[in-house]
Symmetry: C2
Subunit: 425 residues, 2 copies
């Protein structure tokens, strides 16, 4: 009997992994809301033309799920959110009051080789501040990241946020006498600096036709960790980081460039401190993104974080709490067939008093029902046998302390309230 | 300048419509959890073979987004959840303790003509109780629906749940001397009873080669609203509805059949009481669904509810609360360029005291910043001008009462707490 497999690179979220996804989503919501960002969501499929404007060639031509729908239109399972964000802003450009602070958490698809830290269907947090151009706005977005890390228990010795500025990087290259026309290649080269050993990096540089003098010059610049002090924009940025109380997480990092073409100013990237995993997230400032899809030009700053790498980093540092998939703390058992209706009525009464209650829906052996509660992490089990019905009471087993008590029906709700306070206290 | 359009039948969730979707999701979560159901989620794309087993022909062949991925596999944007649920249960059949109570809320796609109550990309609540075969289990799922309606303020005069049983319907047809081989056609005919006038219905029946005697017999049966009392299973079902305290929402409805082939016992459907909108939701009991995708046979009962029709019904009866898209109640303004850093520091301090705070990220005219707060529904605005800095205080404007007060910095947090209690109290 051969069973049907899931699509390669997709994930089944059983209740235990769904509990993690929800926990992460709640942490994301919490920090996004703390800074005043409003949740939105775009469609999960978009027309191919939307990506022609700005996304990297590789992303759409090689890594996207593209197909012709029944009406003949070319449709893409969205590989990133920013083009949809631009389309949405453009189509309501007049009504939307600036500043626009928006976030979302939803599914994306990329046809890449599934590997550690990467799946073909993944979830991504996107957050953007649009309509304001200032180093302070850039710093706020970085503060969202730092506050998020802090809220998860990730300390500045475990995770770091590296910041650079593309305009400043360009001026640095200029000061070395490198022509602007070479910038795309040089940025690619700088982007690889931390990912290659020195010999390979120099070889790569020579392959890109960069002279030995320029290579030496670039290498020298990338070591100057205080050079940002020559950039008024970066100075303002780091001053704002102090006002935002997040300086301890942030470094000037001249090797951070980010791949996407549309970044124009501040760029940043967060990693685990030992750099052993892929980047946790990356982002930066972009200009005129909305203009490219047919709206009034608007500038913004934002980032995207996938759900896969952050999970690896949280696991590595032991920051994932124990999550119980069952949402209830009370199980009402069914003693036997003849008392099934009584059990159902009891569960309903308890539920109508604002408790979450699961009812064991058949007359199995009691030991089996207790084992079920134990396995689901449900601490309180209620038994209603013939004796209890006779005496207008119930038996309550507390599986945490393995204690058991008979409680009169008219004192039941108070008793449960007290037990659950212990649970949560 | 032509702007790029969204894919037909998809929706943009701007913060206001996202607030509704989140409100609905929270109500769904609340009732699902109240009965002990655990949230899960399947991949959003599945292999075509998965749907070959059981989904209606029409659903996959005519209404699904199907495409060949870059690896050559035929992939479907899922049109329904049940086949994925079956696959997931089958692949962990041994580890999963029964009863299995699972729910989810996620996106689905159907290539249909977009119209009132229907979009091509929509969200759906799915909930299932697996591993138990009993009228009480069926009744619990119906109780989830009734409790959901109640929690939204929908009364039994506004919405009704019609219940039938396919086995009982079959026995009724048998009693009329109709051969079993005709059941598929007759079920289709019964399904249309409420959707056609009498003349058209009889004509449709004759087209299906049903004799006049049988048509008269069926019409007669469909009027007998008490005939369920002859079915021990339906009697047990309605008794359980009483124990579950939901009888007021539920009717025996012999015309409810449901389209999908896999239902075998209890079937049900919820509608607005005047029947003017499409069905809100439908579901029923199915046997052996998991067996069909290669696992141990397991029986279940469940339903699916889309997000579009329920919204129309809630609007019709005025049950959608006012939802404020901004998550914060406090805006810290920027008085002028020279005090921007001070404003940012103040916002950070308030945030670090566990308040949600938005910072106005540039030195615009104060009237403009106040207008922004008003438009976003943010009630409390904090002003930090040169006077306030001098006197170590802030000015707090309460936009609800249009009052304003100077508050010393060291009393600020207490003051805000008190203001927000008023807000929520």
């Amino acid at each position: 009997m051969s069973s049907i497999k899931a699509v390669k690179g997709t994930r089944d979220f059983y209740p235990d992994s769904m509990a993690f996804r929800n926990w992460l989503y709640a942490a994301i919501r919490n920090v996004s809301e703390t800074f005043g960002y409003q949740e939105f969501e775009a469609p999960l499929i978009e027309r191919l033309e939307l990506y022609a404007a700005k996304s990297g060639e590789e992303l759409v031509k090689e890594q996207s799920f593209v197909f012709k729908d029944r009406g003949g239109d070319m449709v893409v399972l969205r590989p990133e959110l920013t083009p949809s964000l631009a389309r949405m802003i453009a189509s309501r450009s007049r009504e939307l009051t600036r500043p626009i602070r928006w976030w979302s958490f939803g599914p994306f698809w990329r046809y890449e080789r599934p590997q550690r830290g990467r799946s073909r269907e993944f979830f991504q947090w996107n957050i953007d501040l649009l309509g304001v151009v200032s180093p302070q706005a850039d710093a706020e977005i970085v503060a969202v990241i730092a506050t998020f890390f802090k809220s998860l228990g990730l300390s500045p010795t475990q995770v770091r946020i590296g910041v650079n500025n593309r305009r400043f990087a360009e001026s640095q290259l200029e000061s070395l006498g490198i022509p602007n026309s070479a910038n795309t290649d040089i940025f690619r080269l700088i982007d690889r600096k931390e990912k290659m050993d020195e010999v390979a990096w120099f070889e790569y540089g020579r392959k890109l036709n960069v002279s030995q003098t320029h290579l030496d010059g670039i290498q020298g610049k990338l070591k100057e960790k205080d050079v940002w002090k020559n950039s008024p924009e970066l100075v303002e940025f780091f001053t704002a980081c102090e006002a935002l109380d997040i300086k301890e997480y942030v470094d000037f990092e001249p090797t951070v460039i980010r791949g996407l073409d549309y970044y124009t100013g501040t760029v940043f990237e967060a990693r685990d401190a030992d750099g052993s995993e892929r980047a946790i997230l990356g982002g930066g400032r972009y200009d005129n993104l909305v203009g490219d899809v047919g709206g009034e030009p608007i500038s913004g700053v934002g980032f995207a974080m996938g759900d896969v790498v952050i999970k690896l980093v949280l696991e590595k540092y032991g920051h994932i709490p124990e999550l119980k998939p069952s949402p209830v703390d009370i199980l009402v058992t069914t003693f036997d067939e003849s008392l099934q209706e009584n059990a159902l009525t009891l569960a309903t009464e308890i539920r109508n008093s604002s408790f979450k209650v699961e009812w064991y829906p058949q007359a199995s052996r009691l030991s089996r029902q207790l084992k079920y509660a134990d396995k689901q992490g449900i601490p309180i089990v209620i038994i209603l046998g013939p004796e209890e019905v006779e005496a207008s009471c119930v038996t309550i087993k507390d599986l945490r302390g393995r204690t058991q008590e008979k409680v009169p029906k008219d004192k039941l709700f108070k008793y449960l309230e007290r037990l659950l306070e212990q649970q949560n206290g």
